[in-house]
């Protein structure tokens, strides 16, 4: 059964038309671009983290490009994962900085920007104290 599936995915990758291949490549490049934009929003002014996150994105995309068959389920899952990461970076990551002159206290100034997800008070109250998995945050639409 599994060998049949492997054969199927192999054939599917063989018979992908040039237009479909070009479209797949376009989607991957667009995803990469959106991910990079998300890092520049999430880690604005934080050069070290920004460079580290971009290096990680580059490395992961490069490994997957060599490892995964085009048109395979794994490849599309990896693209969806990258889109989820981009969304979480853009909407759910907020930078905090200790107030200047008050480094001893635990007070942070948050950089809440236009892309940060803001919920109704009621919905936010329901979520308080709960833990969300990566998939839940990615699939959630409020």
């Amino acid at each position: 059964m599994s060998s049949v599936e492997i054969l199927k995915t192999f054939l599917a990758s063989k018979f992908l038309s040039p237009a479909e291949l070009a479209n797949n490549r376009f989607v991957v490049r667009a995803t990469y671009r959106h991910l990079l934009r998300a890092t520049s929003i999430a880690f604005k002014g934080d050069t070290e983290t920004l460079q580290a996150s971009r290096a990680l994105a580059h490395q992961t995309f490069q490994t997957n490009a060599h490892k995964l068959e085009p048109n395979s389920l794994e490849a599309s899952t990896a693209v969806a994962h990258a889109q989820g990461v981009a969304q979480i970076l853009r909407e759910h990551v907020v930078q905090g900085r200790k107030k200047p002159g008050a480094e001893d206290s635990e007070n942070y100034k948050l950089n809440i920007h236009e892309h940060t997800q803001r919920l109704e008070n009621e919905t936010a109250g329901k979520l308080r104290g709960t833990t969300k998995s990566f998939g839940e945050i990615r699939d959630a639409s409020f």
Partner: protein, 136 residues
């Protein structure tokens, strides 16, 4: 009788006050409405002038400088205005995306996916930037 006289005089004063007020304010309002349409006109001309002041050479120079600092460019001697990102500079598709992103940041614009994907060489990037009035 005295009360009506007082009321009348107050009303007169009040009306005079009301009448006097617009007389003072009207010229100010008029000049304001006269000046206001001219300010955007002037600034529009200015922003147009600053956009057109981006010369072809300047754009090319800034893009080449940016590529010079990009550590993945394998052979810096091949950096010329006609360089192709993949064929001449040895960049892969991910590097090309990064270069186009860096160009976006350099000229403070955001290039849509379709158009960003069509930029494969220094020439194409220069042509795209020259066609953008917002680039600076």
């Amino acid at each position: 009788m005295f009360r009506t006289a007082v009321l009348q005089s107050i009303r007169c004063a009040a009306q005079a006050g009301v009448r006097a007020a617009p007389r003072v304010q009207r010229p100010a309002f008029k000049t304001a409405s006269f000046v206001q349409p001219r300010i955007p006109a002037i600034s529009a001309v200015r922003s147009y002038a600053s956009a057109s002041s981006l010369s072809n050479d300047e754009v090319t120079g800034r893009i080449l400088d940016l590529l010079k600092n990009f550590d993945k460019v394998s052979d810096a001697s091949k950096l010329v205005p006609t360089s192709h990102f993949t064929n001449d500079l040895g960049l892969d598709s991910l590097d090309t995306v990064e270069v186009v992103m860096a160009i976006e940041e350099e000229f403070s614009i955001e290039i849509p996916d379709k158009e960003a994907d069509a930029i494969h060489s220094v020439n194409q990037a220069v042509d795209y930037i020259m066609a953008q009035p917002d680039a600076h």
